[in-house]
Symmetry: C2
Subunit: 350 residues, 2 copies
Amino acid sequence: MTVTLADVAVRAQVSPATVSRVLNGNYPVAASTRERVLRAVDELDYVLNGPASALAAATSDLVGILVNDIADPFFGIMAGAVQSEIGGPGGRAGGERLAVVCNTGGSPERELTYLTLLQRQRAAAVVLTGGAVEDTAHAAAVATKLRKLAAAGTRVVLCGRPPAPAGTDAVALTFDNRGGGQLLTEHLIGLGHRRMGYIAGPEERTTTRHRLEGHRDALAAHGVPDDPAWTVHGRYDRRAGYEATLELLRREPGLTAVVAANDTVALGACAALRDSGLRIPDDVSVVGFDDLPFSIDAVPALTTVRLPLADAGARAGRLAMGREEAPPDGIAQIRGELMVRGSTGAPKGV
Amino acid sequence: MTVTLADVAVRAQVSPATVSRVLNGNYPVAASTRERVLRAVDELDYVLNGPASALAAATSDLVGILVNDIADPFFGIMAGAVQSEIGGPGGRAGGERLAVVCNTGGSPERELTYLTLLQRQRAAAVVLTGGAVEDTAHAAAVATKLRKLAAAGTRVVLCGRPPAPAGTDAVALTFDNRGGGQLLTEHLIGLGHRRMGYIAGPEERTTTRHRLEGHRDALAAHGVPDDPAWTVHGRYDRRAGYEATLELLRREPGLTAVVAANDTVALGACAALRDSGLRIPDDVSVVGFDDLPFSIDAVPALTTVRLPLADAGARAGRLAMGREEAPPDGIAQIRGELMVRGSTGAPKGV
DNA sequence: CCCTACATAGAAAGCGCTTGCTGCACCGTT
DNA sequence: AACGGTGCAGCAAGCGCTTTCTATGTAGGG
């Protein structure tokens, strides 16, 4: 019923082997023969059977991209950039690759399951984005999985994620979350803030920890008091930012600034402040992290740290395709850039 | 080197056929045998070879999701919902399916290429999201492709997209863009607006046309003048909204409202108005479309039409899996809900 | 004019899995 | 006691492609 390689071969009056070679272009085929084959392909409207091809060649053209939340532009931007580089349609590379974007929802189990699924598909490469979960058992399981993937010829790239344990020869592009956190808090300290609330992400994520550490480093470096009660953990979403802000205000009505784990959380914080009758930045300054597209449209525009998400994703894509050399030691630290905008100002009375 | 079904069979002292049947669970296998097999699978850490399985069974567990822009939450939300329903890890269904999210960037060619790629992979289902391009040649090409996919057993679902030509037995979940556009403009007319600018999306998209038609229908129905110069086309992004607004202001400084093609564009419009020294909604009212999460955080919050993106995506996922009955005629119209918020008010002097 | 070299095409052996059919116990019937 | 069922397991034939190895035709070199 469906057209197969053999059908094309018959029509072009050549052997199946020749058709395969024309299609793969990795073996000399006389120009006239090639043309005949291509015409037959066209006339029969032949479409290669991917699974069969993958089975015979022991590799597929699938590239997996693991993200925590596909509805979050933070991941969408990276995923899009990866995809544009791996040579899918419209990508600049030749071979046509299919990007498989997998939504883990931040769940370690799902992450593992997706890795198995990709292993099952004999994926050509896997890109893991976003922070890792700090759970020893899980980290070990992931490392094992990655090692197996690598052993099976799947290239593994971490994008915006801390390096995997040694042994996994995965290339890592990590964001300098710590440095970014420091930048932000130093900016606030420089403006005169001394009582700053911190809305952190989920406790067990590396991203959360690093950003928070950066904040604390800055506080310590400048001798600014750091009350544990001024830090609240929550999810990386608007709602969490809203609620955490109300909670912080309850605990310390005298806060002059709120440092949010990321831009989305910061928006929630802004909403909560506004609803509490506080003006930004006159009463309370707010900072975010990531510089997602909408941050500039907040009113006032959000002071934040810009992460080059698209660049990082593109680079990860190239690394996944072996089109770019891995950084020394397989690790590259990517810095963020402080974007000072309207949501921060000097505290009242300074 | 890699463990195969045969290895497991040897270890469990059964035939490969039995192992396959245990794994697929679609054939009676004695409990004791099953257990032995499962233990062997576990001990050997066996991972099924997807391509081989797909080849032999003539179907795969890949589900394709085509989106215009993966970095846009509009699509991210739908894609995430589809994915959670198709039974990937964490999904409620049993079988483990891999969602392949394909980023067309709105390009017809890429759309076609991706469909071919999915056809090549013998995808179990394909979900197309977002408006279609109104180009006869392209539409015909897509229809042909969809027909072939369907013939090959791939289920096709359109989500937020107008129904495909008859013959393609694709189920369509379409958004009532026209009705939504009408709602918005009627709301403005009701507030007293008479000079409204309209920032439309790219000309050739169905979504663009339908929303614009809704707007014009409302104008006509209420006898409000409709100057063609008050409509500007642009892309569906913030930048386009910003520039289009400046252009509209240049053409007609007396505008009292700006109707944007979607929320993202509306944000750009707000920024342009603000930068022009105009207050929202005191000087100019603004409305968007879609009600993306960030719309409520705009200041003032955006009046818009809420589209149940997550619900629609989930439903599309279920349809793609054959877990939900198709609507009569294979078409379901999904209405939007008017969300009146702070960005609209009566024009000055009313 | 024969021999070696090169360029191309073909034959055929899998790749690892699924599945229709067959085989064989064991059981309840007549 | 012979027989048809029924429940499980195995055999073996592919699924459609890639790729190694071999065969052939042609062109040059001696």
